[in-house]
Structures are given as C-alpha cells and as structure tokens.
Subunit: 191 residues, 2 copies
C-alpha cells in the first residue's frame, strides 16, 4: 500500500528547498535511466520551476534532451547505498532499474518512471530548453507538472521530520560517498 499522495504544485518547491540529494529518472522510447544528482535547487515558487546540473556526458542528459522531461525522486536515508550505486554506474549499457531491482511507478502527467519505495517524494518535470546554460554550466531548467510525497513525512505542504520517520529523512551528499541526514527539525525564533 502506498503512502504517497499528491502535493499541490504551489508547494512543490518545498520538496527540494532544503537541498537533498536526488535521484533523476528519465525515459525515451524503450530506454530509461536513473542516476543520482546532488546539484539541484528550486528557482521559482509559482509556476514551480527548478534547476538541476546534469553532466553532458551522461546517458540521462541524452534521454532528457530527447524526451524533454525528467523525474526527480527524493530518497530517504534507507536508500543511501542505492543512491550511491546508481550515481556511480552508467545506464548506457545497463538498465539500472532492473540491475538494482527498482520497481518504478508511472508518473501521472508525463508517464516518467518514478521511485516511491524508500523515497520521501517525487516530482515530474518538463524541461525548459535553455541551450546556453545547458552547454556552459550543464544546468537544466524544468517546470514541475506533478508532485507527490509520502504522507508519513510531508503532508498539507509541510515536512514533518521526527524520530518516527527516520528511514525517510532526506540525505545530503558531502562527496566521496559520505552522506549526512536531515534531522533535528527546529522552528527559528524571532530575534
């Protein structure tokens, strides 16, 4: 049984506001792929738009440019090893979904493969073509057209990070396979 439920588009930026490392999914024709990416950020609330760095040498970049779309899945702490594995191998000669036994769901708007098991949330994005920044900085822009989150950690537009949902705490790559986990949620007090 899935714990995922739709996230209103005006709340979609909150899913990556805090800088988690993400899984990027893509598909074109009969090919599909999944990789890890540490470099992404929202750029606008409404319409919800994001930027993500996808190296031009990757198979993912090829699929995104050909299909005009990509998925972003936000892995929880239980997926640290998987995240590093799909970030360290190329999908050009290998279906990483099959290799790592990832069983994706189908995105409601674009039909992208999206990961729910072990993830806190996902976003389906339509690529906004920006040839200069794609070329100069490997920076791709996208508009979020659908989003969903596991209600055990994100509901009514808000994250609720606590001891009850540690396996879904987002992960943040420091480099070289070392990750930290988001925890210790606190509300800022007025100064």
């Amino acid at each position: 049984m899935t714990h995922f439920q739709p996230v209103a588009l005006e709340h979609a930026s909150r899913l990556i506001n805090h800088g988690p490392t993400v899984l990027v999914t893509s598909a074109h024709g009969s090919r599909r792929n999944i990789m890890a990416a540490a470099w992404s950020m929202p750029v606008e609330f409404t319409p919800p738009r994001i930027a993500i760095v996808i190296d031009k040498s990757t198979f993912t970049r090829e699929l995104i440019m050909n299909s005009g779309m990509f998925g972003i899945c936000i892995p929880g702490a239980a997926l640290i090893d998987l995240c590093y594995a799909v970030g360290s191998t190329s999908g050009r000669d290998l279906d990483k979904f099959a290799r790592y036994r990832i069983d994706p769901v189908k995105g409601p708007v674009l039909g992208l493969p999206l990961v729910e098991a072990g993830c806190a949330a996902w976003l389906e994005c339509r690529l906004i073509r920006e040839p200069h920044t794609e070329e100069a900085y490997d920076t791709c822009f996208g508009e979020v057209v659908a989003a969903a989150a596991d209600r055990r950690i994100f509901e009514n537009g808000y994250w609720q990070v606590d001891d009850s949902n540690q396996a879904l705490h987002t992960i943040h790559h420091l480099g070289a396979g070392k990750f930290v986990r988001a925890s210790g949620m606190v509300q800022a007090k007025p100064l």
Copy 2:
C-alpha cells in the same frame, strides 16, 4: 582565535554540495548587506562555479549587480535564529550587520564582508554575468575565487560531521522558519 583556514579552490564545491541554507553577503561603495538564501548549488568543480537564486526585488541583488561579486557564508546550527532574521528583513533601510551585531571579516581576494563566528565556511565569488537567467529565473552564476572553513568541521577537503561539532552542523531550510540540521554522517556501502 579563528579556527578558519583556507580551502583549496578545487574543494570549494564540497562546501555547498549537500545543499545547506546560506548567508549571502554583498557590498558596494559604502553599503553592505547580508541575507539568507536556501536556493544555491555548485555547477562545476574546476573552475569552481556556483548558481544561486537572488530575487530581483532584493537590496542584495542590487549590490551584487553593481559590484559584480558576492559572498556565501555557511551558518552552523547555532545561527538558525540569526539566519531566519536576516532572511526576513530588508537591508535597504537598515545595516543588518549592525542591527544583529554581526562582525564580519574581510575577504582576502574581493574584500567582501564574510561571517566566521558561528559559520562553518565561506566562499568569495565573482559574478559571471548571465543577463537572461538573471532576468528569467533570478539565477545568478558565480566563480569562487577564495574559500575557507572552520577546521573543526572541514579539513583537507572533507567534512567531518560528528557529535563534537554540533553547533557547526549545517542547516537546511524546509520553509516557514523550520530548519533541519545535517547530522548522522555515514559512508555509503557498495551494493
């Protein structure tokens, strides 16, 4: 006594690789400012380049466009309230450094005001003009020309996040003044 020491430029991207919320500092002529920004990311390792979203309505944006430079300081958990405060007020009619008793150091290359007390690291960046993305997405690109970190949490190019340095753990804004802290460092294992 400062615990800060220079970070080699080829390691600078690691300072923001994991998506911390940052303080953006700026100065032009006799004016200076500091604001919080949740939306930033590296875009290239060498030369070290980053992208950051700075709304065009902000005083910071005005100072950056006029001076061609900006600083990024990475607050530790002890600065959560300060980070939220400088992110919720404008510096147009107020020197936020004075208001919040922040005593900046002077950047070695660009002379920018930079915060060390309570921060884990800082970067001095030269703006790379990209009028289209600045206008369309408020996304500004910069090249890192100097960086330093508190050796109690980042040394020899690596983060060391543990119970001994909790006040310097990076903070990650979820929205509406709620933050999570980076902790529980773990090394991914091969699958």
